[in-house]
């Protein structure tokens, strides 16, 4: 085990973590606003991937250039899901909300299988094909660009929430809905915005993955579980926590598959989560 091997594992892991970060931030945003885990989150990712795929297959738009399109489309989708489903179960027991997003995820996966068969698909020769070599470390171009773009977008979203008026409306609603309403914030619109942004995040994540990852109807399941684990690991309600936890999870996963066995990589990520929260029940940066 030499230095180059270690650098390869570390970089690869960080880049994988970067993609996870964008997916997890979307989930964390919705959770922070409404105290609700979107069980269909991974399936929104799947929609993002298929959107990129079909844009490429039908119109020859490379996933990289299709990115804004996918983001915008998924934003609209998130808003529609909010007004069509989530808003109607807002006053119900929380479990009805879980029920609704779980059912939605199942329906989306099945719809994808119905429309496009369970076959694995891949974008051939994307612009980001091939590898970049730096010394003895080699990284897939799509992996490198995808990871960096994802992390920049996640940081940008965090910056927006902390620094802009819209972001402050989001955090105010997240902290105390009633008081936010008294201050003249239309919380209904804020919720819709949160769903739009959360969905756009995961959609863009899907578009970035589309350049180098297999596309199939159930692809979102693993990302759903990993993203939930990351949000919990970072601490519920903490976006910086999710941003850090995602990188850690990426590195743990890559190290395990390199040093131990690829089949066990996710098992070790979950074990890592269990150990961390048993020692620190509020997650890495959680409020409780």
């Amino acid at each position: 085990m030499d230095f180059a091997g270690g650098a390869q594992v570390l970089l690869g892991g960080l880049l994988t973590g970067c993609i996870y970060a964008l997916v997890a931030v979307g989930l964390s945003l919705i959770w922070g606003l409404m105290g609700l885990i979107n069980f269909a989150h991974g399936d929104f990712l799947m929609i993002g991937m298929y959107t990129s795929f079909w844009a490429w297959a039908l119109f020859r738009i490379d996933p990289l250039f299709g990115l804004p399109l996918t983001g915008a489309l998924l934003f609209v989708w998130g808003v529609l899901v909010y007004y069509g489903i989530v808003r109607r179960v807002l006053t119900a027991q929380r479990i009805a909300q879980v029920f609704a997003t779980f059912g939605l995820g199942l329906a989306l996966r099945s719809a994808a299988q119905f429309l496009w068969t369970p076959n694995y698909r891949m974008v051939d020769n994307p612009i980001l094909g091939g590898v970049i070599r730096v010394g003895s470390v080699s990284l897939g171009k799509a992996h490198l660009v995808g990871g960096l773009t994802a992390y920049l977008l996640a940081l940008g979203l965090y910056y927006m929430i902390v620094k802009t008026d819209i972001g402050r409306a989001l955090s105010a609603t997240s902290a105390d809905k009633e008081t936010a309403e008294l201050m003249g914030i239309d919380t209904d619109k804020v919720f819709a915005l949160g769903w739009g942004l959360g969905s756009a995040c995961v959609g863009v994540g899907g578009a970035l993955l589309a350049s180098y990852y297999y596309i199939y109807p159930d692809v979102g399941l693993m990302f759903s579980t990993i993203a939930s684990t990351i949000v919990a690991l970072g601490g519920f309600g903490s976006i910086p926590g999710a941003l850090v936890a995602a990188l850690i999870v990426g590195v743990v996963q890559t190290s395990v598959s390199f040093f131990l066995a690829p089949a066990l990589k996710l098992a070790m990520v979950y074990l890592f989560y269990l150990i961390v929260v048993v020692c620190r029940p509020q997650g890495l940066m959680g409020r409780w």
Binding site: I85, A92, F99, A100, G103, F236, W288
Partner: protein, 350 residues
Amino acid sequence: MRYAGWLKKNLFAVVLVAAALVDPLILRTSFLRHLSIMVLIWATLGTAWNMLVGYAGQVSLGHGLFFGIGAYTTTLLFVKIGVPPSIGILAGPILAATVAYLMGLPLFRLSGFYFSIATIASAEIGWILFTNWDWAGGARGLFVPLKGDSLVHLQFTTKVPYYYLALLLFGLSVYAAHRLASSRAGYYFRAIRDDPEAAVSLGINIRKFKAVAYTFSAAITALAGGFYANYVLYIDPDSMMAAKFSTQICLLTVLGGVGDMWGPLIGASVLIPLSETTRVFLSGRGRAVDLLVYGSLIVAFAVFQPKGLIGLTRDVLTRARRAMAPATAAIATVEKPPSAPQDTGQGGMI
């Protein structure tokens, strides 16, 4: 007269038991009997899950792990060592209870979602380990060798004996849940569920009691797993430890009514026939039409009837009562909402 009074009080249970006993005489096709057996297995799982969630207020989304432990223990003992399933089926619950107790002690430091995610994580670990464990069949799973009609091997060529065993299993789970709820521990559980902090201030060792609830819940789930393995005669990690399995237990209990004794049975009676029927009639060309319909129905149900079936029944009853006696309407409307675990104030899901 004494019997008449008792009968009146327990009329629902008596009718239910009578109906359950004659069920195979009425449902004569193999498919309907299969449905009844599956409903009973899932109702058992819901009842076991309810012990933890409905009474102790902790949401497990990883009960598939214990179901898998039950199914694998009895099958591995039979296939590898030759222990007949009628004895082997008892080893699963013991193993699952041990695992649950050891896991429960540290995990119950976690609250709300942190705990739920931890249960998902533990089931995923189990799923990955069993998928990669070649000795235990790996991802391909294990077939239980056929022995013909034999009570010792818990194998029958017709569905009727399976039905009565499933009924026994469900009866056992309801009895255990009832005993747990009405015992001293049951009061502790409800105190813990309704207000954890107050319970601590009264000197209740929350973690210990939660671990006890988890242990019982896991043991019954494993027993159901052992039975299931001997009913379908084939097990694999994907069909019992994947997240969809654990979520289904949660779904049907919530559908029927969380924390309600008959909730899981009601939920299973609606959800299982729905999923099995859509599967049989719509899954023909492997295009997942069944799951599309099933998923959409779940969404529709959550949107239009968010209080669950128990809530629906109560609404109808309240409305009927109001129509009959307008004067008491005010009283009828301030009835307690359907029992459900209290919000932990953690942004938790329930």
